[in-house]
């Protein structure tokens, strides 16, 4: 295995994040803080508790997931799209690195950035509301798994996109709505029965539910089902990437 190659891609991507720290870290932290101020402190103080948890604390896992999903997709898609766009991908394709190593470098860096962001948002949340983490190992597990899965998804988008518009369309028109409708700000148990059933087709429901369970022990679906669905989505992304690498789709003629 070309460990130097993986390290080079990983560090190069991490360095790019450091170079654009405002965009990589400050922007999502500020926007998430605004959610805390508006929904947690301002509106949340007038809302009833949800299954024994204050509304401000209830939305923390959802907001972390919201940032984690969008940033994982954004980081990974941009990471692989940029060298395709400016032509520097030639160097990666001509180097003695396998596709698996390329994947580890790019997706590993994208997921790392999202995980750091997730922890920074959790620390920021402390400034606004008190919360507990009942199952810290599971919390970290869900955080890492989600970051990896959606970074893989972002990698697929970064390969598929051949314009900047396409690069933006999936995060904005698909990921963000799914995160908002996946129980970031509410428990799906408050929805009418039909909508509860429809909502279960939203994969983000399982991520948020499992993540929230690791905090407060409450969930819309069983944590094991959450874990299983996340793994299924990860396998789907891996299958798509495997096909991309096998065929050279959008990478090699």
């Amino acid at each position: 295995m070309n460990l130097y190659g993986i390290r080079a891609i990983y560090l190069y991507e991490m360095h790019r994040a450091w170079r654009t720290l405002m965009q990589s870290l400050a922007t999502p932290v500020i926007s998430t803080s605004l959610y805390f101020v508006v929904f947690g402190a301002a509106i949340g103080s007038r809302m009833a508790q949800v299954e024994g948890v204050s509304y401000g604390a209830f939305i923390i896992p959802g907001l972390v997931m919201l940032a984690l999903l969008t940033e994982s997709v954004s980081n990974a898609s941009f990471g692989i799209y940029m060298p395709r766009y400016n032509g520097t991908i030639y160097e990666v394709l001509s180097a003695p690195v396998s596709f698996v190593e390329i994947l580890i470098g790019y997706v590993g860096a994208a997921a790392s950035k999202s995980i750091v962001l997730g922890f920074v948002i959790l620390l920021t949340a402390r400034l606004f509301v008190d919360y507990e983490i009942q199952h810290p190992v599971w919390m970290v597990g869900f955080l890492v798994l989600t970051a990896l899965t959606f970074s893989l998804f972002g990698f697929v988008i970064g390969i598929w996109a051949d314009t900047w518009e396409k690069l933006q369309v999936v995060p904005i028109l698909v990921v963000t709505p799914l995160a908002f409708l996946g129980g970031s700000f509410y428990s799906i148990s408050i929805l009418p029965p039909l909508w509860q059933k429809i909502t279960l087709f939203n994969p983000v429901v399982y991520l948020i539910s499992g993540f929230r369970w690791s905090f407060y022990g409450i969930s819309d679906v069983s944590p094991m089902i959450s874990l299983g669905m996340t793994l299924v989505f990860m396998l789907m992304c891996l299958a798509a990437i495997s096909w991309i690498f096998r065929t050279g789709y959008r990478l090699k003629s």
Partner: protein, 308 residues
């Protein structure tokens, strides 16, 4: 001499059905400078891209230093450095970071001393902490070369290395290529500047419509396919070539002032002495004469034209 690149029965058909390469067979010897010439769309870049791993090969096999580029791609690619035609760099990175990245990508541990030597060789050392976006086009071209040399390749592909660079930089690059060759690196270059191939190459391959038309030592090619011409500046203009000179391959210039005699460089006799005697016998005087040899460009154009 040991082949460092072996291309065997290589063909490539793109998805759209365009056949870019047709049964290419090519052996490139270790330590030589090989120039691949061909008009636009001839298949030069496809061939290089396949060897370097950028394009999937169709049929056939390519070995780099004895390693199959598909089944043993790590060993094969580790030997190769590529300077593509386009100036493709990460504009926001510094020169130092980008060449460090290139070295790591090719599986080599950090070696600041080597990177420094490469940058000094290319007169980039003073620019090491400069972002690439702030460099001139010529400097960016040097950065591309530095990236290709960062992992100490044994085989270097230069795809149109001096396209769009000024004369001074072109000369610098030629010098650098010669130094690399002297250090044992095999150089394969494609170029539109046939003067460049004539100046630098040991051997020349001409590719046209996906087929290798000829591969020869440069000097042998020029000797074999080249021709010499004797041009006579006439004392008095002619309207037609006199019938007494009909057995010589002569051409008369449009203004009638020059008589051009083409002769075979490989022949035992050039026929010049006989021609001059014949001219004297028939009272055709000339005030000056000179001989010229075909340039590589003329040979190339003739080769390609004969195949069209």
């Amino acid at each position: 001499m040991h082949s460092t690149i072996s291309v065997r029965n290589l063909s490539k058909i793109y998805d759209g059905g365009f056949q870019a390469l047709k049964n290419i067979n090519l052996e490139i010897q270790r330590g030589e400078i090989f120039a691949l010439l061909g008009p636009n769309g001839a298949g030069k870049t496809t061939l290089i891209s396949i060897v370097c791993g950028l394009v999937n090969p169709g049929e056939g096999q390519v070995l780099a230093d004895g390693h199959d580029i598909i089944t043993d791609f790590r060993a094969a690619r580790a030997k190769i450095g590529l300077v593509p035609q386009e100036l493709t760099t990460d504009s926001f990175e510094t020169v130092w970071n980008t060449i460090g990245f290139s070295r790591g990508l090719f599986g080599k541990p950090a070696n600041p001393a080597h990177l420094e030597a490469v940058l000094r060789e290319l007169s980039l050392w003073d620019k090491r902490n400069t972002r690439i976006m702030k460099l001139s086009g010529g400097m960016k071209r040097r950065v591309m070369i530095a990236k290709a040399l960062a992992h100490e390749p044994q085989i270097l592909f230069l795809d149109e290395p001096t396209a769009g660079v000024d004369v001074e930089l072109r000369r610098d690059m030629w010098e650098m290529v010669r130094r690399l060759r002297a250090s044992g690196v095999t150089i394969i270059l494609t170029t539109h500047y046939i003067e460049e191939a004539e100046e630098m190459a040991d051997r020349i391959g001409v590719i046209h419509k996906g087929e290798i038309v000829v591969v020869e030592d440069k000097s042998a090619l020029m000797k074999k396919l080249g021709k010499k011409q004797l041009t006579l500046q006439l004392q008095s203009p002619m309207t037609t070539i006199p019938p007494e000179l009909a057995d010589y391959p002569l051409e008369l210039s449009a203004d009638g002032n020059q008589l051009v005699y083409t002769f075979d460089t490989q022949g035992d006799r050039t026929g010049i002495a006989g021609l001059l005697r014949r001219l004297s016998d028939h009272g055709i005087d000339f005030k000056d004469l000179n001989t010229s040899e075909s340039s590589l460009e003329e040979i190339f154009v003739n080769l390609v034209r004969s195949r069209t």
